[in-house]
Amino acid sequence: MRIHEHPILGSLPDTHLVTITVDGRPILARSGEPIWAALMAAGIVVAHYTHTLREPRGAFCGIGRCTDCAMTVDGVPNVRTCVAPVQEGMVVETQDRLEP
């Protein structure tokens, strides 16, 4: 959920929107934001499934440290989506058993 109005930060500034595809579904993202922010705004919290137990993982530290947010982006596995910015046309996939 986007925070459109904020008591301290004011209205969400207008910005250029880009479209990314997440597991085949098109998602609108704000230019320059990390992939994670666009996913959370769309209500998507699972980034990948672990190798051995196939448990779901989602962003934990939000600052590029823990790698729980790793996903496959444009065919490249283990991209830290909490710090990697969105780009127009980016293809993001939930990673399955490709351990970061």
Binding site: I3, H6, M40, A41, R57, A59, C61
Partner: protein
């Protein structure tokens, strides 16, 4: 190989204050992995208190702008979006930037790498939707997205209290903040702000487990005794879709270890002037022991001043006077925190 007098690693309050203090007397390069300077100040939207020396009354992100302006005005150069992936005992650092990788030989290095948040393990803690309080704060204040609709905060230090308040401010519903100890850990002013939003602060309480299919859907809390163990028949379940862990921080000491600094736990051992056991290598801010932004600024200035004197760029008498002033202010800040904590 580039040469620089002082390499500052990390552009948070400690690194920026160091660069501002040293930039006019030495060549200073500030490296930071993020796209903008400021470190965690960038996501602090509350007004800081304290003294004008530490920008009291200004919001965190505005302090970041001011410190950056001071550092740039002093002549410091910035390498942003740049990860320092190696630091050797001879103070050679390797930097991976957006376009290239370069190696820098520094006369002095100030490590201002900040801290990492502690995790808390409980059944269900790996479920998506469980995140550090810092992650939620980044999401809400920098990226303007809520982590969910209804959450629970674990830990009543200042981070837990402030992030709880800011989540409520941004429109999230919070079931409660739980604290395992019998009293609130952070400043009473922050606890008061959170309480006034209607969020209950439950002391002597702990999160016993989180549940959910594919993501967090519930949190179970219980009352606990002085031993931190849950008391029988006191469990309560809340429907939540996110949980924030605010269980303290530890110094980010990876580069200090790589360079060969002796550490006690996660903290590089350092002199009163913040020099580590590796000559010419300093730590400042949370990397030297977790405190808060005012202390970090003061430590950045202290380390930079000592570095300048040792390089012969600052008159020793002037330097000693400045360093004594920094240490006085640090002692005062630490005394105030002890008073606030009731110790």
């Amino acid at each position: 190989m580039n040469d620089v007098d002082i390499l500052v690693i990390g552009a948070g309050p400690a690194g920026l204050a160091a660069a501002a203090a040293a930039g006019t007397r030495a060549s200073v390069l500030v490296a930071d992995e993020h796209g903008a300077p400021g470190g965690q100040l960038r996501k602090q939207i509350h007004k800081f208190f304290g003294s004008s020396r530490h920008f009291a009354g200004k919001r965190g992100f505005a302090i970041a702008w001011e410190l950056e302006a001071q550092a740039r005005a002093a002549g410091a150069e910035f390498a942003l979006n740049t990860v320092v992936y190696s630091l050797q005992p001879d103070l050679t650092a390797s930097l991976a930037g957006p376009d290239d990788t370069r190696h820098v030989r520094a006369q002095r290095v100030i490590l201002a790498t900040g801290a990492s948040e502690n995790a808390v393990a409980f059944p269900g803690w790996t479920l998506p939707g469980v995140m550090t309080a810092g992650a939620a704060q980044t999401l809400v204040n920098l990226h303007r997205v809520l982590p969910g609709r209804r959450g629970l905060i674990v830990g009543s230090g200042n981070v837990g209290l402030v992030v709880g308040f800011q989540l409520a401010q941004a429109g999230a519903d919070l079931a409660a903040l739980v604290e395992i100890r019998p009293q609130v850990g952070g400043y009473s002013v922050h606890a008061g702000k959170l309480r006034r939003t209607g969020v209950p602060i439950l002391t002597s309480s702990l999160l016993t487990r989180a549940g959910g299919a594919g993501r967090v859907q519930s949190a179970v809390i219980a009352r606990c005794g002085a031993d931190g163990q849950p008391l029988a028949a006191t469990e309560r379940a809340f429907a939540v879709d996110f949980i924030c862990l605010a269980a303290g921080l530890h110094p980010a000491s990876e580069l200090a270890r790589m360079a060969g600094c002796d550490c006690r736990g996660d903290t590089p051992i350092h002199s009163p002037e913040l020099e580590t056991t590796v000559p010419g290598l300093y730590v400042a801010g949370d990397a030297a022991g977790v405190e808060e932004a005012s202390s970090a600024m003061e430590e950045g200035k202290l380390a930079a001043t000592h570095a300048l004197v040792s390089l012969g760029r600052l008159d020793k008498r002037l330097g000693l006077k400045d360093m004594a002033a920094c240490r006085d202010v640090l002692a005062q800040l630490r005394g105030e925190r002890r008073l606030e904590a009731g110790a």
